[in-house]
């Protein structure tokens, strides 16, 4: 079941495939399959070099308008590119946050000066971004951020703490939700400020996750400085900007993700055959269920990509909840199929097998980028028009 492509789109696919194959079987061969979920803290320097090579060849930010350095690709073309990227075993993209979150935010809410200053280095791969949203007391209740920014002598001075910040260790910049008016109601006193990471007032402490790797970090701001003009969308208007960012997710990465899931599912089937679990009627039910679920995910995605119009359709609203549940269940199924073998590591001190990695990491899938509970709120309120929780 393939996406229906025009001749032009098919030519685009071939062009992307040729470049990716050449690079990932040539100079960047070592990066194949590295830096994925559960492995994002490896090969950092090499992946930054890869991001620059992508930029030089015009493969970063392909969905952005041409006059801002992109290729003006449609969502469908973007989806095709991501699919080819995963098919070629491309590495986890360190430029992801800049390309998919900050860039679109600046394109929509940024001043011309901000766009001119920040967009080109995202396209070229020269500046890496991280997202300063969550705090110890502001997770699902994001508007409760307490990190404070004060204007002192024409500069923002920032005090506070962010947490669960992916890639903070190697990022050049961070977009930080700060409280700039502590008197205002909590949604109205927030600003979206662009903060350089390589400065004395910032300390990054990696968080060791249950998988043993450290892909997230805590970020401490102790008198960190930011330019007065680097507020996006106006002072105290940061909540609107942050919520706008959520709407830019176009679902283009979904086909690539499913290609990865397909490979994982095939590994699960292979394990079932090897261990003999494939003969067990209960496991057969569970494996078939996972297989059916994966096919449905694909049709859901194709329907979403075929949908024309600016509104987020129902298939897009259910996407995150659907895939994260499916992936979590697949991880559990893989371990169940392995029986006691599931316990054995690849080696000491704590070298996980590939299956153990996605078994453990899939527990984060249902939490990050809007937990399942938040996703259900969004589906209920935006998709079904149910009344909001009184706040």
């Amino acid at each position: 079941m393939e996406l229906q492509l025009t001749k032009k789109e098919e030519a685009f696919r071939q062009e992307a495939r040729a470049w990716l194959q050449e690079q990932l079987n040539g100079p960047f061969e070592d990066l194949q399959g590295r830096g994925a979920s559960g492995d994002q803290d490896t090969y950092i320097e090499e992946r930054i070099a890869w991001s620059k090579a992508m930029g030089a060849a015009g493969w970063n930010c392909i969905g952005w308008p041409k006059d801002l350095g992109g290729r003006g690709c449609t969502v469908k073309e973007e989806a095709v590119f991501y699919e080819e990227y995963v098919r070629a075993n491309g590495p986890g993209n360190v430029g992801h946050i800049g390309e998919t979150l900050l860039g679109p935010t600046l394109i929509h809410f940024g001043s011309p000066e901000q766009q001119k200053r920040f967009l080109p280095p995202i396209v070229s791969g020269d500046e890496i971004w991280c997202q300063g949203y969550s705090e110890p007391g502001a997770g699902s209740d994001l508007a409760n951020v307490q990190t404070k920014a004060t204007l002192v002598d024409g500069e923002w001075v920032i005090e506070g703490q962010k947490i669960w910040t992916s890639g903070a260790q190697y990022s050049d910049w961070c977009f930080v939700l700060c409280r700039t008016d502590s008197e205002a109601p909590k949604h109205r006193g927030i600003s979206y400020i662009l903060v350089p990471m390589k400065q004395g007032g910032i300390e990054v402490r990696p968080i060791k996750q249950m998988s043993g790797s450290s892909e997230f970090a805590e970020v401490f701001f102790d008198g960190a400085k930011a330019d007065e003009d680097h507020v996006v969308g106006g002072v105290n208007n940061g909540w609107k900007v942050a919520m706008g960012t959520l709407a830019f997710e176009r679902g283009a990465s979904t086909l690539g993700q499913q290609y990865l899931f397909q490979k994982e599912f095939e590994q699960v089937v292979a394990v079932a055959k090897r261990t003999g679990a494939a003969k067990d009627p209960v496991f057969r039910q569970r494996i078939a269920n996972a297989g059916i679920g994966l096919k449905i995910m694909r049709v859901n995605a194709l329907r979403m990509l075929e949908h024309e119009g600016a509104d987020l359709n129902r298939e897009a609203l259910i996407g995150k909840l659907y895939w994260s549940n499916w992936h979590r269940d697949l991880g559990k199924l893989a371990m169940d199929l392995l029986g006691q073998e599931a316990e054995l590591l690849d080696g000491a001190p704590y070298e996980l097998t590939a299956m153990q990695k996605w078994y453990l990491f899939s527990r984060a899938d249902t939490i990050y980028a809007g937990s399942n509970q938040i996703q259900r709120n969004i589906i209920g309120e935006r998709g079904l028009g149910l009344p909001k929780e009184p706040r």
């Binding site: 057969r284 329907r303 079904l384």
Partner: protein, 379 residues
């Protein structure tokens, strides 16, 4: 493959909904539920003669409109949504499909124009036991006589079997075993020796019957398809029917969600609408996720069927398994969300809950279909 509904399919859906809001209102469904026939003859005439739904998937050379399963899909969803009481499913999705797949030109000419016009109803009489899946289980026999064949046995769980004008009966040659010797026959519902009995069911929106065949003589040209080919032909027919049934389940599940959401918006407890509580909101969100996914499974299968793809087993079974689970889940949650009122006879929730169970076990339950998918995956 296009996986979204086209403008003309959307238009068909809107027209169907407008018609069914009146013709299959709750009041009229309840009235049909009370009758032995199980459906309103006037509504049947309207939907076949005026709206030509029965003609939709019949080729033009047999008096139909020559449209595809993609076009049928939105209609099935709407029929499910309205709990339409009708022999449409048995006549078109079982009867006409069996004729289209296995019939000779003569047989098609004899029956399809009547089906397209709504003058002939039909059904498939393939089951005997309560686990109606394998042709191996067929005990009804046929044996040749001078002019054709004699059929003997008893079919059970026959959809609309007590009213259908044409019964398509699965039987085996005497002494045969397994799927060998299994053959389909076209038997007029009023043939001598046919005794038909309505089997009252928990779901009152669709009728089941038993059909006793006491030495029923049929002519030689009553044999449908190849002699001994009944197992495959019946299987292909069932796969097409399952896809339509899955679409029907999606529409019904969506109606359950809409009822739940409407109620959750107006029902107040603790001083606020219950839909503002996450306990209710999250149930509704899960229902929406399942319904849109079920629609994907069913519409993908419909699109494959429309292309004439001969390998429908996996898509058909996937759709039937997932849509059955979805409808049952949504119907059960609808009762829970409505609280006490949802448990009453007066409220329609029970009608959906019962239809959910009935369609879940019809043409193979989810366990059967997942096992079938496992086989197709090479497990």
């Amino acid at each position: 493959m296009e996986l979204s509904f086209s403008e003309s399919q959307d238009e068909l859906r809107r027209a169907a909904r407008r018609f069914l809001e009146v013709a299959s209102s709750e009041e009229r469904v309840r009235a049909a539920m009370e009758t032995e026939q199980g459906y309103d003859t006037g509504v049947w005439e309207q939907l076949s003669e005026e709206l030509a739904w029965t003609a939709l998937t019949i080729p033009e050379e047999y008096g139909g409109l020559g449209m595809t399963y993609r076009d049928l899909h939105p209609l099935m969803e709407e029929m499910g949504r309205a709990l339409l009481c009708s022999p449409f499913f048995s006549t078109i999705c079982l009867g006409a499909n069996a004729l289209l797949l296995g019939g000779s030109d003569d047989q098609k000419q004899r029956y399809l124009p009547g089906i397209a016009a709504g003058e002939t109803t039909a059904t498939l009489a393939h089951t005997e036991r309560s686990n109606p899946i394998s042709a191996d289980d067929v005990e009804t026999t046929y044996s040749p006589n001078e002019t054709g064949y004699i059929l003997r046995g008893e079919k059970r769980f026959v959809l609309d079997g007590h009213t259908a004008d044409l019964l398509i009966v699965l039987a085996r040659s005497e002494g045969s075993k397994g799927s060998e010797g299994v053959t389909l026959f076209l038997v007029p519902g009023d043939a001598d020796g046919v005794k038909r009995t309505w089997l009252p069911t928990m779901d009152q929106t669709r009728r089941l019957a038993s059909v006793e065949l006491g030495d029923v003589a049929v002519p030689a040209d009553a044999l449908l398809g190849e002699e001994g080919g009944g197992s495959d032909l019946c299987g292909q027919t069932l796969d097409l029917a399952r896809i339509a049934l899955a679409a029907e389940q999606v529409g019904a599940a969506e109606m359950c969600l809409e009822m739940s959401v409407e109620y959750a918006k107006v029902r107040q407890q603790f001083g606020r609408p219950i839909g503002s509580f996450q306990a209710i909101k999250h149930k509704c969100a899960d229902m929406l996720m399942m319904i849109e996914s079920a629609r994907s499974a069913a519409f993908y299968a419909s699109a494959l069927a429309a292309q004439g793809d001969p390998n429908l087993e996996e898509a058909s079974s996937s759709a039937k398994a997932f849509c059955s689970d979805t409808f049952f889940h949504c119907a059960a949650e609808t009762i829970q969300i409505h609280g006490g009122i949802g448990f009453t006879w007066e409220h329609p929730a029970h009608m959906y809950f019962k239809r959910a169970k009935a369609t879940e076990v019809l043409l193979g339950d989810p366990f059967f279909h997942r096992e079938r998918v496992a086989e197709r995956m090479g497990l």
